[in-house]
């Protein structure tokens, strides 16, 4: 290899291909290399819930609000699957990058703070979309589900995609150890999902439990998704979409402010 002269010092920076796209591509390549865990495993987990709780027990469990049980639980399982992969993707990708310090390669490059945030978040969103599509394509025909209100479904899906991915990126930014990463997933995300009305109607709960459900942010995603897919939910779509929209704004604002200040990413 011949050694070439270094670039001129006074040239304005101009990317041949946006650096953001390279970071996004790296994020996608990262999870595709472990696709059996990152994609297939998550689809299978949701499918097992549909088979065990829905298809197998359908005849022993009453229809809820006139909706067969297997169909009733699918929107919630879809939320749970996408929430989990969005959270896990951002957390593990960013935590490992910080822990092994190869985040330095990104921070030292011409990538701007918002491009780094966007690359990580969109990477998580792509993984969520793949898992969500997988769940719908595999489990959907089993329970015979459609889209009752396309606008509500689309809005709920976009809000869920962004929120889950931003939540993962936030957790990955703050996590100090692998224990933090796994604890957040098993002690926070998983219980919030299971207590969000995936398997039951919150309307049927005693008042105290109902109040607790109202304090659970995942409940509003499940309700919005249920309204979009089934056309029926305990909450009006206006209420659930307003709450999930607020969650998107809060999480995105927090995450962007954190990346702009770089307090957690740089010494």
């Amino acid at each position: 290899m011949t050694v070439v002269a270094p670039p001129p010092y006074d040239r304005q920076y101009q990317a041949e291909r946006p650096a953001f796209l390279w970071l996004l591509e790296r994020e996608i390549v990262r999870f595709l290399k472990i696709w059996r865990f990152s994609i297939l495993g998550q689809i299978l987990a949701a499918l097992l819930f549909v088979l065990v709780f829905g298809v197998a027990l359908k005849d022993r469990v009453e229809a809820i609000h006139g909706i067969p049980y297997d169909r009733f639980i699918l929107p919630g399982l879809l939320v749970q699957a996408m929430l989990t992969v969005g959270f896990v993707n951002g957390t593990t990708s960013l935590f490992e990058a910080r822990n092994d310090r190869y985040i330095h390669r990104v921070l030292a490059s011409p990538l701007r703070w918002w491009e780094i945030n966007l690359g990580l978040v969109v990477g998580g969103i792509v993984r969520e979309v793949l898992v969500g599509l997988g769940v719908i394509l595999v489990a959907g025909p089993l329970v015979g589900i459609g889209v009752a209100h396309p606008f509500v479904f689309s809005a709920a899906t976009v809000a869920l995609l962004v929120s889950a991915s931003q939540l993962g990126v936030l957790a990955g930014t703050y996590a100090r150890s692998l224990d933090d990463v796994y604890s957040l997933e098993t002690l926070v995300v998983l219980p919030l999902g299971f207590l969000s009305g995936i398997f039951y109607s919150v309307d049927k709960l005693p008042p105290a439990w109902r109040a607790l459900s109202y304090a659970n942010p995942v409940y509003y995603f499940v309700e919005a998704m249920r309204a979009g897919l089934l056309g029926h939910a305990d909450l009006s779509p206006t209420v659930s979409l307003s709450v999930v929209g607020g969650i998107v704004v809060v999480l995105s604002g927090w995450s962007l402010a954190l990346f702009r200040s770089a307090k957690q990413l740089k010494s």
């Binding site: 050694v3 070439v4 002269a5 270094p6 920076y13 291909r17 650096a19 790296r26 011409p110």
Partner: protein, 245 residues
């Protein structure tokens, strides 16, 4: 030193970095490195070398001070593009293989796909890593990881190359190969900022050396100047006297 009228490759003024725990790693430090220089930064562990380099490379937030790289604010994309960093730690991406590490690194600096792949293949070949192009970090020997780190710093063709202990743990053969290539890069006009604990290496390679202790530059000059000033026989003796002063 190059006779060009280019601004200083690196101009640091009044740099202070105090960490959260109250430790001041760099204290009101001024440093200027001319375009085309081969500059050595020597000092014991904890002297502030890595903090200084981290700040220049946008990895550490300074408490006070200004940094310019070829006349650009160090945070600007123009400045970031002109710098290549090879860190002391082997911080290679564990999820992707050697060639992907280089391709994405080139991409973070805005190279297009054909150019990123061309540079990657060249550097893999140059550093004798072509056979390991599909290997991940854990499948590379220590020497291979060190070479890949250097290739990563070079893949976008930086004008200022910062090498933080680039030959730590490398055997003699690898050190010789790496220095031969770095010399050629310097000969072609690349400015090099080197930190190393191999003092004889710094003496042989660097036009100018700065000795840093407690976050402050305590002496600076060519190896000959420093030997004369400290009445020393070699740079090791200069180092010991400067650190003991």
């Amino acid at each position: 030193m190059s006779p060009t009228a280019a601004p200083a490759a690196l101009a640091v003024r009044g740099l202070t970095k105090t960490y959260g725990a109250g430790l001041t790693a760099v204290r009101d430090l001024d440093l200027e490195i001319a375009d085309g220089a081969f500059f050595g930064l020597l000092g014991p562990n904890g002297a502030g070398k890595t903090t200084l380099i981290g700040t220049v490379c946008n990895l550490v937030r300074p408490t006070a001070g200004e940094i310019q790289i070829f006349g650009h604010d160090y945070r600007s994309r123009e400045a970031r593009f002109l710098v290549g960093l090879s860190e002391q730690d082997v911080n290679l991406d564990r999820f992707i293989d050697a060639e992907e590490i280089l391709v994405y690194q080139a991409g973070y600096y805005g190279l297009g796909r054909p150019e990123a792949w061309r540079r990657t293949r060249e550097l893999l070949d140059l550093f004798d890593l072509s056979a390991k192009a599909k290997s991940r970090r854990s499948e590379l020997s220590g020497g291979m990881q060190r070479r890949l780190l250097l290739a990563q710093a070079l893949v976008h063709g930086p004008r200022l190359l910062i090498l933080d202990e680039p030959t730590a743990g490398a055997d003699v053969e690898l050190r010789t190969e790496l220095w031969d290539y770095i010399r050629r890069l310097h000969g072609a006009g690349t400015t090099v900022l080197l930190t190393t604990h191999y003092l004889e290496e710094a003496e042989a390679l660097c036009d100018e050396i700065a000795l840093i202790r407690g976050g402050v530059v305590v002496a600076r000059g060519s190896a000959n100047d420093l030997r004369d000033r400290f009445g020393a026989r070699d740079i090791s003796e200069v180092y010991l006297r400067a650190m003991a002063a």
